[in-house]
Point group: C2
DNA sequence: TTAGATTATTGAAACGTTTCAAAACAAGAG
DNA sequence: CTCTTGTTTTGAAACGTTTCAATAATCTAA
């Protein structure tokens, strides 16, 4: 691999001149610059990012750290982030990590957005600093170099519960996800608050848990149906996949949705509007979520720390499942 | 940020000893190693990847370069790649680039998988070398350090055409995508070959083009319907999204699918089986595609160049749209 | 012309690691 | 004791850049 030194030799200038020329410094005359540039092209020079970053102590790359590429969800968030990253002249890398987090730990990136339950709070808190601000999408953290861009889970759930209550439902069940999900637990907490708000009684037995997947929800719902004589007239679910699983279980047991039981999801994933029946759900504007997060990050990279990121809008989408 | 030097000072050893200790060299005694490690922890030392990579001239990271995060497609491929990458003790970064490709050009990664029409052949050819082998998913290239892991587009289309021909269709149309897609053009070429194979005549007017999206396909199909008195009894589409768009256009014009016109897609995306009517299509095993690509890459990283990656299986999925 | 100011170029140090070769130390053998 | 051998530690160079400070070249004005 040819280096700057090789370019300098080829162009008959010093290494420093070559460096200035390639970086477009105004110190260098036009002729020299051209000489260097054509020498660089001739020998196929490419800058070495490691050396550059080592010297400059920054990479102009930000990282998005997620738990895995599965799921119908990330693409849109990433699109939003990417837009802002490009606008700021940076690049984004996306990493799924479940253990080592090398890229996060070894100063690869100048900033990070985190949506990854594998990472513990302690690590995130330890990593955040002036040289590497962090935005979390999946937890609340309190650190001058960390901003949280969180969803309005409780508001969203409240829209759903209100809708059901308005339509006369008095006994509403909830399908939650695994305990380690911040959003999931917030949604459950919101559910309980909303029930109170609308004077509905909470039947603890009607709060069931699956694992955020369609199949897990189908199974637990099937079991629930078989074990319970009387049932809620509506379920609200911590995400759309589980709503779909629940609906399938209900249908398989001869229970009609929404005639016998109404079901409301959360997230409004792409599939939801194509599902049969189309799913009532709470929509997150995912691309905007990504944008908001990225903007918060760049604000911190610009040494501004004293602000609160704007809320990401959320809305209830009424379709046929309720 | 504390450096190795700080660790060395804290532990009362030399920098080299600290380095050996942290990297687990067998030269170092147990006690020294422990001393160093606890010093490192105490002062919050984290290795600096830039310095390390500069010295070692490798990063143990491979990059996946795609054109954008849109589309229902990438996640599964990425999952496959990620599995293999982790198995090899590397990390993967995913980048969407439309212009600068900084991460690809500046020796950030030790290898690359490319599915990105924004990148031109010349650049890819220029970048590939022993220190950075490349696997392409979206074009044929001939270079000792590049392997192509391509789909069996023609075979796939042939399954579709055969299915339609077997069901008595004599006039079959095709909805292609934009000209710059390798897979799209291969599918079109395969379509023409298959027509010949089954003695069907090609009506050039029945080959229409959209842009791989549902909406573009809906629009061109709508126009096609309005402009043409007689029509094929079946369409085969270069991807599932366009098949869905076409079906919607047909339905909006009072044409029933599959009763009046059969439609077959390509890719078998998640949505296809939930679509109304569920879509007949050609399935790509996307996760396996990713795995195959990653395995080819690691073989090259292991200095093995003389092999052909295995074919990625492909199959026809019969649902209700045909 | 020439001193002084301005512009263009260069040498060398530094960034944080790794790793070779040399040095220091410890242990056995004579 | 001293010599050898083997083990552990260390000093220093190197990786490819950037950038400060210093030098060289050119220009301006008296």
């Amino acid at each position: 691999m040819p280096t700057l030194k090789d370019v300098a030799k080829e162009a008959n200038v010093s290494v420093s001149t070559a460096s200035y020329a390639i970086n477009g410094s105004s110190l260098i005359t036009k002729e020299t610059k051209e000489k260097v540039l054509s020498a660089a092209k001739k020998i196929g020079y490419r800058p070495n990012a490691s050396a550059k970053n080592l010297k400059k102590n920054k990479s102009e790359i930000i990282g998005f750290f997620l738990s895995g590429f599965k799921g119908p969800f990330f693409n849109e968030i990433l699109e939003g982030v990417q837009d802002i990253v490009i606008k700021n002249g940076y690049e984004m890398v996306v990493c799924a990590s479940n253990s080592k987090h090398r890229l996060l730990v070894e100063s690869y990136v100048d900033g990070a957005i985190i949506l990854n339950f594998h990472l513990d709070d302690y690590t995130i808190d330890f990593l955040a600093n002036e040289k590497m601000p962090i935005v979390t999408l999946d937890r609340e953290m309190n650190n001058p170099y960390i901003k949280n861009v969180l969803l309005q889970n409780k508001t969203g759930i409240d829209f759903g519960v209100k809708h059901l209550a308005d339509n006369g439902h008095r006994r509403i069940g909830f399908i939650g996800g695994s305990y380690d999900s911040y959003d999931g637990e917030m949604r459950l907490a919101g559910f309980k608050e909303s029930l109170k708000k609308y004077n509905l009684i909470l039947n603890e037995n009607d709060v069931i848990r699956a694992e955020f997947t369609e199949i897990s929800s189908l199974l637990v719902m099937d079991q629930y149906i078989k074990e319970n004589e009387t049932r809620p007239t509506a379920f609200i679910c911590a995400n759309d996949e589980m709503a779909m699983g629940a609906i399938k279980a209900l249908q398989q047991n001869g229970i009609s949705v929404p005639k016998d039981i109404a079901v409301v999801g959360f997230d409004d994933i792409e599939l939801s509007k194509h599902f049969d029946p189309p799913l009532s759900t709470i929509r997150i504007q995912k691309k905007l979520w990504g944008k908001t997060a990225a903007e918060a990050l760049f604000k911190m990279l610009d040494k501004q720390y004293d602000f609160n990121p704007p809320e990401v809008p959320i809305e209830f989408i009424h379709r046929s499942s309720s």
